[in-house]
Amino acid sequence: MEPIGAGLAIGLAGLGAGLGIGIGVRGAMEALGRNPDAENAIRTTMIIGLGLAEAIGIYGFLIGLFLALGLGG
């Protein structure tokens, strides 16, 4: 079961993180198109948001790694 769990963990977490990052970048692009002068503020906020979204994928990776290495007990 562990390999299946590890694959599911990284796959589903990657799906969520990918969706989150896509939506976040889309919002930033739209804001940038509407207001090109605010590029610096938009970029900084977007990077923070992407970091938060990407963290979900990273948690999935860690859990997958724990399972694959047999640390799940």
Partner: protein, 245 residues
């Protein structure tokens, strides 16, 4: 031989313990980075001039860029918190980048576990060790709440954090989760990079070289994210006091 993925740092040598403290291979890198940054700082400090040389120029460039971010976020408290936040950024950045040097994680000794042979590296990326990132996250957590308490007093800060008497436990747990999210994000990213480069290097080295270039970028982005999150949480926790000033 096979690539080995290990989550924990290994001891640097057989008998290197400082009292109860075991010197691990990721601590060695942390100490090297700290020492290098200290030496650069002392070297710049000793030859400080109004016409900056090359080294002073680089240091001034980094600090001024950071000041441009910290100053608007923290207002009149910026001068007090700037050294801490700048140190967090510079340390994470150079710890991440130092871990990409060729000798880190690739040379070591071979340990035999029955039939298996496992490579135990001499050096391991400092930020790919959960102990390091939890320590950094605890510093960030303390910064956020101590500056909040300094701005509003203990009860004012507690009120600002918990927002609503009914939801107070939820908000306090959310605040505590900041430690987990900050530390696991940094740890996971750096470990993922380390594992990715390691595995792809075993399979097809040229792919590993490509990931190495990406890791330079990720090292910078993770340092920026950690610093910006610390900064914006601190900014929120002292926020109300700033508006009145």
């Amino acid at each position: 031989m096979q690539p080995e993925v290990s989550l924990a740092a290994e001891p640097f040598c057989e008998q290197c313990e400082l009292g109860p403290l075991l010197i691990t291979n990721s601590m060695v890198i942390m100490l090297v980075v700290m020492l290098a940054l200290l030496l650069v700082a002392v070297a710049v400090r000793r030859r400080l001039s109004s016409v900056p040389g090359t080294l002073q120029n680089v240091v001034e460039f980094i600090l001024e860029a950071l000041d441009g971010i910290v100053e608007p976020a923290l207002g009149r408290r910026a001068a007090r918190l700037f050294p801490l936040i700048a140190t967090i950024f510079i340390f994470i950045l150079f710890a991440n980048w130092f871990s990409l040097l060729p000798l880190v994680g690739t040379i070591g000794w071979i340990e035999h576990h029955g039939e298996e042979k496992i490579l135990v590296p001499f050096l391991r990326p400092a930020t790919a060790d959960l102990n390091m990132t939890i320590a950094l996250a605890l510093v960030a957590f303390a910064t956020i709440h101590i500056s909040g308490i300094a701005a509003h007093g203990p009860f004012g800060h507690l009120k600002a954090v918990s927002q609503n008497i009914l939801l107070a436990p939820v908000f306090i747990v959310i605040e505590l989760f900041v430690i987990v999210s900050l530390s696991f994000r940094l740890f996971g990213n750096l470990l993922a990079g380390d594992v990715l480069i390691g595995i792809s290097g075993w399979i097809l080295p040229i792919v590993g070289a490509g990931f190495l270039v990406l890791e330079v970028l990720f090292g910078l982005i993770q340092a920026v994210i950690f610093t910006m999150l610390t900064l914006s949480f601190t900014s929120v926790s002292i926020g109300a006091a700033n508006e009145h000033a």
